[in-house]
């Protein structure tokens, strides 16, 4: 019996190999495909304009900040939004894009949604204060464009923000 086992150890694999000669074989005909460029849409970039110098100094404030996971506007930023609302109401040729941003905490896509909600909450207040909805657009960058690098509240507080980008 022992003898048989000994032979089996040697013979079985050989028989196995003979039996299924070319078991998992890889194909040799791998074709290397040359890359093709992505067809990109043409993107129109706004010409960024600055507020005329004699205007309300609050118009120089182009950022407001949010609490963690919040999109409601803190009382201290209402005057800034009001200044921009009046500016838009007075100058119907102006357009304002509001970018919504988040800190790095939380998931990537949830932050895309939260950034959009922050921008929308600014947009809503601007229209309530006299700007026309047609002058305003919103975009979210989620957590992808931090203002400050860093992994604690000293950076995060500057990254949870809405940014005003004017164009005409």
């Amino acid at each position: 019996m022992k003898q048989f086992l000994k032979w089996a150890v040697v013979l079985l694999p050989i028989l196995w190999l003979i039996g299924c000669g070319g078991t998992p074989e890889k194909k040799d005909d791998t074709v290397v495909v040359e890359p093709k460029p992505v067809v990109e849409e043409k993107i129109v970039e706004e010409k960024i304009v600055e507020a005329p110098p004699e205007e309300n100094p609050l118009l120089k404030e182009l950022k407001i900040y949010f609490d963690f996971d919040k999109s409601d506007i803190k009382p201290e930023f209402k005057a800034i939004i009001e200044a921009h609302a009046q500016n838009l109401a007075k100058n119907s040729n102006l357009s304002l894009k509001i970018e919504g941003h988040c800190d790095e905490r939380g998931t990537t896509e949830y932050n895309m949604a939260l950034g959009e909600r922050r921008a929308a909450s600014v947009s809503k207040m601007l229209t309530l204060m006299g700007a026309s909805a047609s002058q305003i657009s919103t975009v979210s960058f989620g957590e992808e464009r931090p203002e400050k690098e860093g992994h604690d509240e000293s950076a995060w507080r500057w990254n949870r923000r809405a940014v005003f980008v004017y164009s005409e």
Binding site: L17, T107, V139
Partner: protein
């Protein structure tokens, strides 16, 4: 007055550095990891390459957390042929399994690889296999050998011959005109292939269930749009417009549709895009945030993140009766679910009451939740969990020692933890997505 500019996004096969590999450190091992000796294979007809097949197999099995491969220096003998095996040499070290192999190289560079797995104590061969390969296919053969050993010894299919997709983010200081790179790679992060590099953020890579296509998102200054990369054709195609602001793509199991998140009007909603007709249909709608949809493997429901209950929690939407049920109740938030391949579990990000982000899993039958990871002071914020195709592990991205974007993995029983230390890149690795089986 508009300044016109075309944002160039370059697609190429170019990789930063072909030796760009991630080193793996097992940070917490399973008590029952099985010892296995993978003896360096014999080579005939050509010089042995620097990294032999045996060392690739050893690394694979080690990474699974289920095996503890024997170091070459601890081997008392190095048989390459069945006749050379003296089981005593392995029994004495209490090593239960032995793998030997031989590579025969013909002048035309055709390699014939023969590999055998033995049960040392029973002194029997568990399998013998033969592979044929060209030079550049040797790594693939090594992964197939790992799969065969893993399956023979665990009864579970190995996930070594599969792929990852991930995003590398270069630091702001990078002197390149791009900061975001989307890669696919073998499951051991070798063979990196660049899908896209861009100065604009690339996020949310999602493999189709047949692992042939990868959906992802590029975020631009008008909004985000969805692309589909075809891995066989090596081409990417944009399927939505920037102004539509779609993101978070998830494939339907039959590959005919994508579930996406539309970041519009303050509260994002869930849409379904029919890839053939291009038709968009809003399926989940609420004034609060609805985000991060994923398709159940049976196709009958979506799981998504919603703030409709006051805080971000996971919900399930059923297509047949359009009912929505809440899945998570514990912790401050539960976000970004991902299904196990068999649909029996989900893994997701759990924000605990002490404001730390953990990876959790939930049994879809009992809705019982269990933590898989526990952030330490060194390793904080765990994100983007994705199941291995055999359901044995979850890969995720972590912050480690003030570095962001460090790949890590944990076994589904929570027993084995490992970290892939990224030595060569100054960039962070984000949103790892593990493919399904490739056949």
């Amino acid at each position: 007055m508009f300044a016109r500019s075309i944002l160039a996004v370059v697609l190429s096969l170019w990789a930063i550095n072909s030796s760009a590999t991630l080193k793996i450190e097992i940070t917490e091992g399973a008590a029952g990891a099985e010892q296995v000796a993978i003896v360096p294979f014999g080579w005939a007809g050509a010089a042995k390459p620097k990294e032999g097949i045996a060392s690739i197999v050893s690394a694979d099995l080690h990474r699974s957390g289920r095996f503890n491969p024997v170091a070459e220096r601890d081997m008392l003998a190095k048989p390459t042929d069945p006749q050379q095996i003296n089981f005593k040499n392995w029994r004495i070290l209490e090593i239960p399994y032995l793998v030997i192999g031989q590579v025969q190289v013909e002048p035309n560079q055709n390699h014939t690889i023969v590999v055998r797995l033995y049960d040392v104590f029973r002194q029997t061969e568990l399998f013998g296999k033969k592979f044929k390969a060209k030079n550049f296919q040797l790594r693939a053969v090594a992964h197939q050998i790992s799969d065969a050993i893993y399956e023979e010894l665990t009864g579970e299919r190995g996930a070594f011959s599969t792929k990852l997709a991930y995003i590398k983010k270069l630091p702001k200081t990078a002197k390149t005109d791009y900061r975001y790179l989307l890669f696919t790679a073998d499951a051991d992060t070798h063979n990196e292939r660049l899908v896209l590099r861009s100065k604009n953020p690339i996020i949310s890579p999602a493999w189709s269930s047949n692992s042939k296509k990868l959906a992802f998102v590029v975020v631009r200054n008008l909004g985000s749009s969805i692309y589909i990369y075809d891995d066989e054709k090596n081409e990417s195609e944009r399927i939505t417009q920037s102004r539509e602001k779609f993101s978070a793509p998830a494939w339907s199991p039959d590959l005919s549709k994508l579930a996406v998140q539309a970041n519009r009007d303050g509260g994002s909603d869930i849409y379904i895009i029919d890839l053939k007709s291009g038709k968009r249909q809003r399926v989940i709608e609420h004034w609060s945030i609805d985000a991060e949809p994923i398709w159940s493997p049976d196709g009958g429901s979506l799981i998504f993140t919603s703030e409709r209950g006051g805080s971000a929690q996971l919900y399930q939407y059923y297509f047949d009766n359009k009912q929505i049920r809440r899945l998570t109740f514990e912790g401050r938030q539960n976000l970004r679910a991902s299904f196990s391949p068999d649909g029996k579990m989900i893994t997701f990000v759990h924000l605990s009451n002490d404001r730390k982000y953990y990876i959790a899993v939930m049994d879809m039958e009992t809705l019982e939740m269990r933590m898989l990871t526990k952030p330490s002071h060194q390793e904080t914020e765990h994100e983007s969990p994705s199941f291995a195709p055999n359901g044995s592990m979850v890969i995720y991205a972590a912050n480690y020692q003030n570095q962001r974007g460090v790949l890590a993995a944990v076994s589904v029983d929570g027993g084995v933890h490992q970290r892939f230390s990224n030595e060569m890149l100054g960039g962070e690795v984000h949103e790892p997505a593990w493919s399904s089986f490739l056949d």
